[in-house]
Symmetry: C2
Subunit: 151 residues, 2 copies
Amino acid sequence: MDQKDRQIVRALQRDARMTNQDLAAEVNLSPSPCLRRVRNLEKSGAIRGYAALVDEAAYGLPVTVFVRVSLARHTEEAVQQFEAAVARVDQVLECFVMTGVQDYLLRVVVADLPDYERFVRRRLHTIGGIASIDTSFVYGVVKRTSVLPVV
Amino acid sequence: MDQKDRQIVRALQRDARMTNQDLAAEVNLSPSPCLRRVRNLEKSGAIRGYAALVDEAAYGLPVTVFVRVSLARHTEEAVQQFEAAVARVDQVLECFVMTGVQDYLLRVVVADLPDYERFVRRRLHTIGGIASIDTSFVYGVVKRTSVLPVV
DNA sequence: GCCTCCATTGGCATAATATTCCAATATAGT
DNA sequence: ACTATATTGGAATATTATGCCAATGGAGGC
C-alpha cells in the first residue's frame, strides 16, 4: 500500500459512495487505474467493505453502552464459548479483547434502560462463565470519524 | 422511519456500495421509490454518510487503544476546551462522553507502542486540564459489525 | 549513460446503473 | 364511500463503471 492507496482509502472513508471519477480526480489519476487500485484494495482485504453510517437514535436505538466483561475462568473452552456466544448477539456491534483487568470491551446498542436490563439478563448472563460486568453509558459524542490519520 | 426504511438501512450497513437495483430487489421495491427513500434518509440525517471499512494494520496503524480520560475541573470552559482540542487530534477516531468515574472514552489508532507514548505526551497531555488517563490496548477483535439489530 | 523489462497508466467503446418524470396505485382521514 | 395526500412503478435519458489496448514511466542491468 503506497501513498496513493492511502489517499484513496481516506477518501473512501470520508465518502464511500463517491463516484470513481470524482475519486480519480481527487487523487490525480484517470478513472481506469483508480478503479483498479480500489479493486485490488478490496481483493487484498485492505478495504474490508463499505458501510452506511446511521443515526442510531433515528433508527430507534438511541442508547449506546460500553460494557466491560471479565470471565470467571480463562480456559480455552470457556473463552471460545463466550466469544462464539457474544458474536451471535445482535445488540453487540463490537467486541474487543483487551489488556487490563477486564477481558472484553463491548459496544452495545439498545432502545432504553429497561431494554438494557433485559439485554444483560437474557443475552449476557445466559452465556455463563462471566465473573463481572461493568457498564458505562454514552452521554454524548464529541468526535466520530472513520478517516485514518495520514501516516 | 418505517420497517422498509430500516430494511434499507441495514442492507446499506452491510454493503454501502450495493447498486440501487439490488437494494430495491432486496427490500421488494422498484428502483425509483427505493432510491427516493435512500435520498430522504440522507437528507433527514438518518444516514449520516458512507464509509469504507479499512484494515488498520494493512494501512499501517496496527495498534488500537481505548483511552479513558478524566478532567481535573469540569467548568464549562475546561470541558469545551478539551473537547475542541481532542476533536482536532487525527489519531483520535472516536471520543464519547461517558457515565462513571472517567469522563471520556477515546478510540485511538497508532503505529506501535513508542508512537502511542508520543501521542499521549504530545497530543493528549499538551491539551491540559487532564486529571487521569487510563489506557487499554486491543488484543484482538471478536466481533465488529455496522448492522443494527432488528427492532 | 543507455537500454530493456515490468508495472502502471490513460483513453476509448460498451455495458450497467442512476436519475427524472408522469401516470397509476395505495393509504388515511372525514 | 369519497377525497386528498403520499407512495409507487415504468420508461426515457444522463451518468457512471468496466474492460481492452496502446502508451508511458521507472528500476535494474550492462
